[in-house]
């Protein structure tokens, strides 16, 4: 348990990271440092986006699948990394840098 928390804390400690959400296979967020409303909002939307992306990848090449989705927006930069059972959303403010 501490191990998992430590890992997430390490990610959060990166510069400019605003939020980290870990979601399980059923779409329930199990770890987040944002408030409840936002967590659910982001989880719902990105789950859909991820599912869509996976469908596209599988359609193009059945052996291939997406592992990391990097979205650059006007205000921030969102990384969605996924595996078989879980996926993680990391949100960072795009104007800050080292």
């Amino acid at each position: 348990m501490n191990e998992a928390e430590k890992t997430i804390k390490r990610i959060q400690a990166q510069k400019g990271v605003e939020g980290v959400i870990v979601v399980n296979a059923e779409g329930i967020p199990i770890e987040s440092n944002l408030d409840h409303q936002r967590t659910l909002h982001y989880t719902y939307n990105f789950q859909q986006l991820l599912a869509r992306t996976q469908r596209v990848m599988k359609d193009l090449d059945p052996q291939n699948e997406a592992t990391l989705l990097d979205i650059q927006t006007e205000k921030n930069n969102i990384l969605v990394s996924t595996d078989k059972d879980y996926f993680m959303i990391a949100m960072k403010n795009s104007r800050e840098g080292p």
Binding site: M1, E3, A4, E5, T7, I8, R10, I11, Q14, K15, G16, V17, V22, N24, P29, I30, E31, S32, N33, L34, D35, H36, Q37, T39, T67, L68, D70, Q72, E74, N77, L79, S81, D83, K84, D85, Y86, M88, A90, K92, S94, E96, G97, P98
Partner: protein
């Protein structure tokens, strides 16, 4: 031989009348007495209860369950941790999107003429375009034909034409709708909310409101000739918000020195005068310069500008070169002797700006700053004023001849366009150091004047310009003239705060 004789009267008695009477009967009935009883109850025990919602205290989720509930979580996290951290660091260092601005539309580089709209009959008769107006959806352009150079009382038939620019089969030579008008049209204004309603001011002093969505009898309301109407040509009509929300009144101003507010009575098809203002020389507070017009005491109005910030203020430009600041709520009664009007005319003038050398053809408030306005007239200059002081902040030379119209750009705070008597539209950018125009748009009228121009409220890169040769040109402006740059509002603010000594 003949003798008089009287005979007995012979009568026949009726046999049936008696028998009917014998069959008469009468009946009556009555209800039984009604039973009533009274009972009372009262609650003995009372209890109160209430509920209330509480603010959600945002809490972060945290793992307080056993890690064994989530098989594979640790593995997942280990796998992705490195990738995510690497990406995050890379993104922080990346300069890929520095200064990246999304352009969702194509940028147009130059000003181009999209359409040249003409009404052949009007052009054959030599009528000029005196007013253009876009409707509230930005798809229909309407223009009024009349004459500006004729000094005579004219009863020449004129037209109001509209073209719908969003239609596929737009024919620039044939208007979508032609409305016949008995006298020349001097000005036109579409309704700010209803896309088919348009008001026009005529040379005879009448104000007419048309509804182009009707199939017959397009006139929605008109003033007719009564004691209330203008006796002189109406130079400006506008729609102003009325007493109730969503209602609009028509404001008309003419060279008779009257500014009148009408309410539309659709049922009677009449415009009813709701309040009026009369401008006279004696009631104008002088700004220091001696008044130049003597003789006639009424101040003929040639243009009106409504303030988009302050619903009470409006500006009046006069035939004598005066630019006056007026208020709708003024209570002073006008010095004009009453002439049978149904409402008492009031004197609205509060402040007078430094006069121009000739008639003021157009005044326009800046949509981006509450104090700034620009005025043009026959002296060929565009004066930038602030309402706080009489002298202009800036005077730009627009043309060597008269300037007939001026409008601020709806998207760029520092840009305005002026229509000149040489057939050119000069666009000025106050952000530039030079006082020369940023762009000159030639209307191809071979030297004939350009009388009016309007920016499209919805598609802000379109500009309609009406010319003396009877054509209306629709121009698509370049991105440079329509896209707002950074800090323009700040520069405008700075300009407005300069005080002229």
């Amino acid at each position: 031989m003949f003798t008089d004789e009287t005979l007995d009267i012979i009568g026949a008695e009726s046999t049936w009348r008696k028998s009917h009477q014998q069959t008469q009967e009468s009946r009556s009935c009555q209800t039984l007495p009604v039973d009533t009883a009274e009972v009372e109850t009262q609650a003995r025990d009372v209890s109160d209860n209430s509920t209330q919602t509480q603010d959600q205290i945002s809490q972060a989720l945290s793992i307080d369950r056993d890690i064994s509930d989530f098989p594979g979580l640790l593995d997942f996290l280990h796998k992705v941790e490195d990738i995510v951290i690497k990406e995050l660091v890379k993104n922080s260092k990346s300069h890929a999107f520095d200064g990246f601005r999304v352009n969702w539309e194509d940028q147009t580089e130059s000003v181009s003429c999209m359409y040249r709209l003409q009404h052949v009959e009007a052009q054959e008769r030599g009528l000029q375009v005196t007013g253009v107006s876009w409707n509230c959806t930005g798809s229909v352009i309407g223009c009024g034909f009349g004459r500006v150079d004729d000094g005579d009382w004219s009863n020449e038939k004129a037209y109001v034409c509209t073209w719908n620019l969003d239609r596929q089969n737009l024919n620039p030579k044939r208007p979508d709708m032609i409305i016949d008008v008995p006298t020349p049209v001097m000005c036109l204004c579409f309704h700010p909310v209803r896309p088919s309603v348009v008001a026009g001011g005529l040379y005879s002093g009448e104000v007419v409101v048309w509804d182009t969505s009707r199939s017959q009898d397009l006139i929605l309301a008109q003033t007719g000739m009564s004691a209330d109407t203008h006796r002189e040509p109406v130079f400006q009509v506008s729609w102003v918000p009325g007493a109730r929300r969503g209602e609009f009144m028509v404001l008309s101003a003419g060279s008779g020195g009257r500014v009148l507010l009408w309410t539309v009575d659709g049922a009677e098809a009449k415009l009813i005068l709701s309040s009026g203002y009369a401008l006279v020389q004696q009631q104008v507070p002088q700004c220091g310069a001696a008044s130049r017009t003597r003789g006639s005491t009424t101040i003929g109005v040639t243009s009106v500008a409504l303030s988009p910030w302050d619903l009470d203020t409006f500006l009046v430009g006069s035939e004598g070169g005066l630019v006056l600041k007026c208020s709708f709520s003024s209570e002073t009664v006008s010095a004009v002797p009453p002439d049978g009007e149904s409402v008492t005319l009031r004197a609205p003038v509060q402040f007078s700006f430094s006069p121009l050398g000739g008639p003021v053809h157009s005044v326009h408030f800046s949509p981006f700053h509450r104090n700034l306005f620009v005025s043009v007239g026959t002296d060929g200059l565009a004066h930038l004023h602030t309402v706080l002081q009489p002298r202009p902040l800036l005077s730009l030379r627009v043309s060597d001849s008269y300037v007939f119209g001026v409008r601020w750009s709806p998207t760029r705070p520092l840009v305005f366009a002026a229509a000149t008597g040489q057939g050119l539209v000069q666009m000025f950018d106050l952000g530039r150091r030079s006082l020369r125009p940023a762009a000159t748009v030639d209307q191809n009228t071979s030297g004939q004047p350009t009388y009016c121009l309007e920016f499209n409220p919805k598609h802000t890169n379109l500009m309609a310009v009406g010319n003396a040769d009877g054509s209306v040109n629709i121009w698509q402006l370049s991105a440079e003239l329509t896209e707002q740059g950074a800090k323009e509002t700040a520069v405008l603010e700075q300009l407005a705060n300069e005080v002229v000594d």
